[in-house]
């Protein structure tokens, strides 16, 4: 996935001279996860700019650049390091188009590596998607596959609206069997805002995104032994939300579980459960359940396996979906 993201940045920089990458350590180091590897060498230190270590300054500078017509791509090294920039994000990035009556849009992409499961110490494993999804004016995108990483990042950079692009850290080293980089680049992922059914099923529907997708796919495999044929929907985009694909998948099975690793209370899962209930109530045989992280600060590495949604927790939820005896 890191290589796909790197290729997406490289191809965007090649395609459009207005695209600029900026952030802490994105230059010579190539980013702490190497997503910007080699970009400064190919495009120069101006178009792949190592900035001072100041997230509000990074994003605020990018706002000014975007106001002048550039397309900045900002890297926020880790999820929890993006919080100092939240005022810029909420007060300016999200609202500029609205405040100016459409005169000034901000074609900004904000890359945020997010989530746990990599043994990170504190402040390195937050799932911050609900903060962004709750802020009107932002698109919030999170790929879970290699091809989506490439295609959605290209689409985010091409978007005339600001996109918070959440990169699941624990999938950074994932690969897609049998696909060459050229095939990844050619794969059609569609515009931002479309969910995709990763696996059809008839018994119940798992609704998930980002780092929890592989967990749900493994759970669906394991569920076959219990006699459950689970559909898995990868949301890919939290804002805009693909009600159509989600509701069609839920209506087809009559049962749904939302799975994400962020804390459950006030989380994206609550929104999804409410939307599905409002739209599919008469198709539902059971309440929409959630499998999420606990409502606690992200735990230390040696305890994170208790916190993260696991195959077992997903199957336990499926078991609670009021199956007829």
């Amino acid at each position: 996935m890191v290589q796909a993201l790197n290729a997406a940045l490289r191809d965007s920089l090649r395609a459009d001279p207005d695209v600029h990458v900026l952030g802490e350590d994105v230059g010579a180091l190539g980013g702490v996860f190497r997503v910007t590897d080699g970009l400064a060498a190919e495009f120069g230190a101006q178009r792949c700019l190592d900035t001072p270590l100041a997230e509000a300054g990074i994003l605020g500078t990018a706002v000014g650049m975007a106001m002048y017509g550039l397309r900045p791509v900002v890297e926020m090294q880790f999820d929890a390091f993006a919080y100092p920039a939240f005022e810029q994000l909420a007060s300016h990035v999200a609202k500029m188009r609205n405040r100016t009556g459409g005169a000034v849009g901000l074609p900004l992409t904000i890359r945020v590596p997010y989530g746990g499961g990599i043994g990170g110490v504190e402040h390195h494993s937050d799932s911050s998607e609900a903060y962004y999804a709750h802020t009107p004016g932002l698109h919030v995108v999170t790929p879970a596959t290699v091809t989506d990483s490439y295609g959605l990042l290209r689409a985010a950079i091409a978007s005339d609206d600001p996109v918070v692009f959440l990169e699941p850290k624990r999938l950074y080293w994932s690969t897609e069997d049998g696909l060459s980089p050229a095939e990844v680049a050619r794969a059609e992922v569609g515009p931002i805002g479309r969910a995709v059914v990763r696996r059809p099923g008839a018994s119940a529907t798992l609704l998930t995104y980002g780092p929890a997708l592989p967990v749900c796919l493994r759970a669906a495999e394991a569920a076959l032994a219990e006699g459950w044929d689970l559909a898995v929907v990868d949301l890919r985009s939290l804002v805009p939300f693909d009600d159509e694909t989600v509701c069609a998948a839920v209506r087809a099975t009559g049962r749904a579980v939302v799975v994400h690793e962020a804390a459950g209370f006030g989380g994206v899962g609550a929104e999804i459960a409410a939307r599905v209930t409002e739209r599919c109530f008469h198709h539902l045989a059971a309440p929409v359940l959630r499998v999420t992280g606990f409502d606690i600060p992200y735990p230390p590495p040696m305890l994170e396996h208790h916190y993260l949604p696991s195959v077992d927790r997903v199957l336990d939820a499926v078991a609670r979906l009021q199956w007829e005896q």
Binding site: A54, A56, G57, Y68, L70, A103, V104, H139
Partner: protein, 415 residues
């Protein structure tokens, strides 16, 4: 006892490679300081604010410049008075006056080129008007029917910023981008400068410091004008900063700091103009602190008598920017009664225009516009909500046609 001695209890001292207590500077073991060591001298502001009026330098001032400054100050004062009155009449939801600070407000438009950009705060509506935006358009935000009444691109003026100092970062980014564009495209405007206006309170905000850091490191063609008007709402500068002056803050970021008397219009014009040309010439950013005073309260909704004395206000009224320049013009024989009457008439004309445009009912706004500019294309969720609102408005307009009976006196819906 040093800090390192104190940390011995936790086992830090004595570890291989940890610096010893006497390790305070370059030694024969190699350099320990990595930064660029610049001579701070050229960056430092002078010990006293630059003044022109009342000094021998004032005799050399161009008469036409003085008359222009005077005219703009008088019109600016009338603009502040009229907007304050409109707020008291309820025609504006609120008005943060720049009364007393007019010299700082009119100078930006006089020193910026058309291709330069201005980044104002909510208090800087006079600076925006001075750059050519109609009063009704810049005050539209305070009127309450829109968030922004002027096109930022057309005027090269960013939207009024309310969260303090955030727009200083934008100014840096825009200045940086303009220079990148000029370097890569021959058709792009050359030598663009961005000017960010902030108040003294904003200099305490993190974004102010991040903006200065970025401006210094990028050597961006940006100028920060700090209007030090004495108070951040009610908190006086002494509780805001312990710096020698706010202009001194620049030096730590490698930015040039300059200090000017903010009530001395020729001085503000000269110092801000020099700062803008310094940045334009590629010599790096400048932070100008203008020492001025907010003669009115923080906003029309504030009571300044709770936190400052009448004596203090009276002392600053004696140094009113309009008074200072009129005294000079009269002493120099540059302002007779006829000229003064002409300026006064122009000010009344401006006030009448403001009353006529802002005293009337605000323009009707289509509720559908609520959803129009959230994204380049509305999401399906916004389209649904827009349709719901449109249906509700249609039903309220014609309850009989839809069978919907409207609302009961208690506010509950009756179906």
């Amino acid at each position: 006892m040093t800090i390192l001695d104190a940390s011995a209890a936790s086992g830090l001292a004595g570890q291989p490679g940890s610096p010893g207590p006497t390790d305070h500077g370059p030694t024969d073991r190699g350099p320990v300081y990595h930064g660029p060591r610049r001579d701070p001298g050229p960056l430092l502001p002078g010990p006293e604010p630059v003044r022109v009026l009342g000094t021998p330098a004032a005799r050399a001032l161009d008469a036409e410049l003085l008359r222009t400054l005077h005219r703009r100050l008088v019109l600016g004062r009338r603009y502040n008075q009229q907007a304050t009155t409109l707020a008291r009449q309820g025609r504006l939801a609120v008005y943060p006056a720049s009364t007393g600070q007019e010299a700082c407000q009119i100078a930006p438009a006089m020193v910026l080129r058309e291709t330069d950009w201005l980044f104002p705060t909510y208090r800087d509506t006079l600076a925006v008007v001075s750059r050519g935006v109609r009063p009704a358009d810049v005050l539209a935000t305070m009127r309450g029917h829109t968030h922004g009444g002027y096109d930022p691109r057309a005027h090269r003026i960013a939207p009024l910023a309310t969260p303090l100092a955030t727009q200083a970062c934008h100014a840096v980014g825009l200045a940086h981008a303009a220079r990148l564009r000029a370097a890569s495209g021959p058709a792009a405007p050359r030598d663009v400068v961005a000017l960010a206006l902030v108040g003294d309170g904003a200099t305490s905000e993190g974004d102010f410091h991040e903006a200065l850091t970025f401006a210094g490191v990028l050597s961006a063609p940006v100028v920060f004008l700090v209007q030090n008007n004495g108070y951040a709402i009610s908190v006086p500068l002494a509780r805001q900063s312990a710096a020698p002056t706010l202009a001194h803050k620049a030096v730590g970021y490698g930015v040039t700091g300059r200090l000017v008397d903010g009530n001395d219009a020729p001085a503000v014009h000269a110092v801000l103009g020099a700062a803008v040309e310094h940045a334009r010439a590629g010599h790096g950013p400048v932070l100008v602190e203008a020492v001025t005073y907010r003669l009115d309260a923080h906003t029309s909704a504030d009571d300044a008598t709770r936190y400052r004395t009448a004596q203090e206000v009276a002392a600053w009224q004696a140094r009113d920017p309009v008074t200072l320049i009129e005294r000079h013009l009269r002493d120099a024989g540059l302002l007779d009664d006829a000229a003064r009457a002409t300026v006064a008439a122009a000010a009344e004309e401006l006030a009448a225009e403001m009353r006529s445009e802002l005293g009337a009912e605000p323009p009707a706004v289509d509720p559908a516009s609520l959803f129009a500019h959230v994204y380049a294309r509305p999401t399906s969720q916004l389209r649904e909500q827009a349709a719901e609102l449109a249906a509700r408005i249609a039903a309220e307009a014609d309850p009989a046609a839809t069978g919907w009976a409207g609302t009961d006196p208690a506010g509950g819906e009756v179906r």
